[in-house]
Symmetry: C2
Subunit: 409 residues, 2 copies
C-alpha cells in the first residue's frame, strides 16, 4: 500500500468529472492517519432526513464486520436522516470480535455527533486485512469532518476512499422526468488487489430522486448484475465489496417506475464499473466480452465470465494475439451449454470462427490489428438460444505479477 504507481494508461481523459450537486447530501474528507500519512483517508457523507438507502454487497462467505453491519441496516426508517463513513488503510476484515467492536464504536460516534440513529449509520473500511482497525483515529476525526461538510465535497470523498487506485473514480447523470431534473452522482474505488493486502470495490451513489426502498433495492440489485457483477480484474472477490445508493428525494420527483431514471442510474453504475476495470492492476487493455446465442441469461453470464477470467485469454490479449483457441477453451470449461459445431467467434468486427470451424475468410492480419487497440472486443455466439451477457475485464500482464508478487510493504 502507498506505492506510488503510475496512473493507468486506461484512465479516462480529462480527470475527475464535474458531478451534479445532489440536494440533501454533504461531504467531508480528512487525513486521519489510519495507515497512510499525508493523505485524506476518511470520508463522511451526511444524508438528509427522508433519504432511502439501498445496497448490494460481496457474496463472500468471509464478509467483513462492516459489510455485515451495512447489510443489516438496509431498509431502515428514512425519516431521521443517515450518514456514511468510510476509511481507507485498514479493511477491518478477519478481525473477529474486535472488528465488530470497531464498527460499533465508529457508527456510535457518528450517530452521536450527527444526531442520527445508529441504525442509520453505514460504515465501510478498505485496506490491510487481519490487523485491528485503529478506530480511535477514525472517531477522533468525526468532529473535524462534521465541521467541513459541504455539498460540493464529492471529489475529495472520491480521493479519500482510494487505496491502490491510480485515479479517483466518479460518474454522474442528470435526467429530466415530467419536466423536472433528477440528478445522480457516484464515486467508486477499486483496482483489483495489491500485495500484501486485499483491496476492495466500494461504490457510493447519491441521487435527489424520490423513491421508496421497496422500489430502489430491487432496481439496484438488478443493475448490479449487469455492471459491478459483470466486471473482473483477476477473478478474486474481496471480503468487503460494498455498493450503497442513497436517494434523498430533494428533487421532489418521484421516479418509481420511471424507466428514464433506471437507465440513468445504469449509465452511472456502468461508467463507475468500467473505471474500476480501467484501473485494474497492470492493465493495458480494456476488454469487452459479449456472449450471445446462449441457452439462457445465466449460461451467457457463466460463459462471458469464464472468458473474462481465463488467464490464457487475458495473457493472449496482453500479447496482442488473436488466440481464438483460448476463447473456445473458455467456452468449453464454463459449464454453460455449448455445441462445438455451432460456435462463432469475433475479435472486434473480424469473424474468426463460424459453426465450429475457422471462418473461410478469416484474416489473421485484420484480427491482429484489432488486438493492438487499447479497447478490445471479443464476441462469442453459442448458436443455441436467446441468452446474452456482456462482461468487462482487462488484460493480464507482467505488471499484475509485479504489483502482486514483487512489491512488499
Amino acid at each position: 500500500m502507498g506505492h506510488d504507481l503510475p496512473q493507468s494508461p486506461l484512465a479516462p481523459k480529462g480527470g475527475f468529472p464535474d458531478l451534479p450537486v445532489i440536494g440533501g447530501v454533504r461531504f467531508a474528507s480528512h487525513a486521519a492517519g489510519v495507515r497512510y500519512s499525508g493523505r485524506v483517508d476518511v470520508m463522511l457523507a451526511e444524508l438528509a432526513p427522508g433519504t432511502v438507502v439501498a445496497g448490494t454487497f460481496t457474496r463472500s462467505k468471509t464478509r467483513s464486520a462492516p459489510v455485515l453491519d451495512c447489510q443489516a441496516k438496509l431498509g431502515g426508517p428514512a425519516d431521521d436522516g443517515a450518514a456514511i463513513l468510510v476509511n481507507a488503510g485498514n479493511s477491518n476484515a478477519f478481525t473477529g470480535h474486535k472488528g465488530v467492536e470497531a464498527v460499533e464504536a465508529i457508527t456510535g460516534a457518528v450517530a452521536d455527533e450527527m444526531n442520527v440513529p445508529k441504525a442509520r449509520v453505514f460504515t465501510s473500511s478498505t485496506g490491510v486485512i487481519g490487523e485491528p482497525l485503529p478506530f480511535e483515529r477514525v472517531t477522533a476525526a468525526i468532529t473535524t469532518l462534521k465541521g467541513q461538510l459541504d455539498e460540493t465535497g464529492i471529489a475529495g470523498a472520491a480521493r479519500a476512499i482510494m487505496t491502490t487506485d491510480t485515479f479517483p473514480k466518479g460518474a454522474g447523470a442528470t435526467v429530466t422526468i415530467g419536466g423536472r431534473e433528477v440528478r445522480i452522482a457516484g464515486i467508486a474505488k477499486g483496482s483489483g488487489m495489491i500485495a500484501p493486502d486485499m483491496a476492495t470495490m466500494l461504490v457510493y451513489i447519491f441521487t435527489d430522486a424520490s423513491i421508496g426502498f421497496d422500489a430502489l433495492q430491487p432496481m439496484v440489485a438488478r443493475l448490479t448484475d449487469g455492471s459491478f457483477n459483470a466486471i473482473t480484474v483477476d477473478s478474486d472477490t474481496s471480503t468487503s465489496d460494498t455498493l450503497l445508493v442513497a436517494a434523498t428525494g430533494s428533487s421532489g420527483v418521484n421516479v418509481t417506475g420511471e424507466t428514464a431514471f433506471e437507465e440513468a442510474l445504469e449509465r452511472v453504475m456502468l461508467d463507475l464499473a468500467h473505471q474500476v476495470v480501467r484501473d485494474g492492476e497492470g492493465a493495458t487493455k480494456f476488454v469487452t466480452v459479449e456472449v450471445t446465442g446462449a441457452a439462457d441469461h445465466a449460461d451467457a453470464k457463466r460463459c462471458a465470465m469464464a472468458i473474462a477470467n481465463s488467464p490464457l485469454v487475458k495473457t493472449a490479449i496482453a500479447g496482442e494475439d488473436p488466440n481464438w483457441g483460448r476463447v473456445v477453451m473458455a467456452v468449453g470449461k464454463s459449464g454453460a451449454e455449448a455445441d462445438r459445431d455451432r460456435l462463432s467467434i469475433w475479435f472486434g468486427d473480424v469473424q474468426v470462427a463460424e459453426n465450429g470451424l475457422r471462418h473461410p475468410d478469416y484474416s489473421e492480419e485484420a484480427a491482429a490489428a484489432h488486438m493492438k487497440r487499447d479497447e478490445v472486443r471479443i464476441r462469442a455466439d453459442l448458436g443455441l438460444g436467446g441468452g446474452s451477457f456482456t462482461a468487462w475485464t482487462c488484460d493480464l500482464t507482467a505488471g499484475y505479477i509485479a504489483i502482486n508478487a514483487d512489491y512488499r510493504s
Copy 2:
C-alpha cells in the same frame, strides 16, 4: 510451440525413471513431422488380447473429436487386443467434420495394420488448435511404428507425446499381491497451455494386473478425482484431456478388490499429476493446498481448488509472501460453507490464524522462511465438519505471462 524452454527447476531429480516392463504392452515412437521437425511426435502402444481399457476425460463442452471417440470406445470387448496412437503437434480440436474424418482415418489405419478391431483403437492428439490435422503424416508412419514395437519403449513414448513440456514424465510401481508381482507404469504430458496454442494433459498407464472393466473404470474415476482433477496450473481446461488405463492381465493376478493394487495405482497417478504441476508454465514453487474441517468432501474440494486457482494467492507465493488474507479471500469466494470465525490457516507448520483471528503466537518471520522453500504447503481448516481435500498447484510468475503473452510462433 517448439520454443526451447529451460527445464523446470521443479523437475524430479535424476531424470526419467526406470519403469517396470509391463507384459502385454509394446511401444514405438517416431518422428512423423506432424508439425515439429527433427523430434519424435507419434507414439503407438500395442495392447495384447485380453487388455481392459478404462479412462477419464476432460469435462469441457467443446471436447475434441479424438476425446469423443475414446469415450465412446471404453468398455469394448477385450478379447481381440487394442492399440493406442498419440500424436503431438496438432490437437485436432475445433476442426469440425474434418476432425472426425481424421480420427476415422487414423483409427482405421491402425486397425488394419495391427489387425485389431477399429472399435479398440484409441487415439489422442495434442498441439495446435483449429487447424486440420495432417493425418496422412500419422497414417504414413504406422508401418514404421509397428516394425519398432518393443516392450521397453516407454521412455520414447513419453518423449513423443510432449509439446511444451520441459521434461518427459513417467512413474511406476510394483506391488505384491498373494505372493505374486503386479506392475504399473505410466507416462504423462502437460504443463498448462502455451501461446499461441492450447496444450493438454494426456496420461497413459499400463499394468499387467487382471481386472474387469466394471471394476477398473470406477476405480480410475475415483482416483482421478484426487489426482488429475486435484491439480491446476492456471484454472484453464483443455478440450483434449485424456487418461487411459490399460490392464493386460499378463501377470495372471486378479486384483479386483485388492486395496494394495488401488493404492499402487493411486501412487502412480499422483506422481504423474505432481510432475505435470512441476512442469507448470513459469513455475518456481510446488504448492500443496490442504483443506480440512469442511462441511463435506465437495466443499473441501471447492475450497482447495479456489485457493489453488486464485491469482492473488499464486502471485503471493511467487513473491514468497505469507499473505494469509488472500487465503481467507479465496475461502470466502469459493462458495463452500464457511464461518469466518472458525477458520484457521497454516503456512507449513506455522499457524497464522486461529478461529478467524491472527494467531497470538504468529511469527511472520517463520512463515516467510517457509515461503522461501521450493515446496510450499498451505492448510486451511474450516472448523465445520469432516470434509477434506488436497490440491496441488504452482505459483504464478512473470514467466507464465512471458510464455503465454510475449512468445508468438
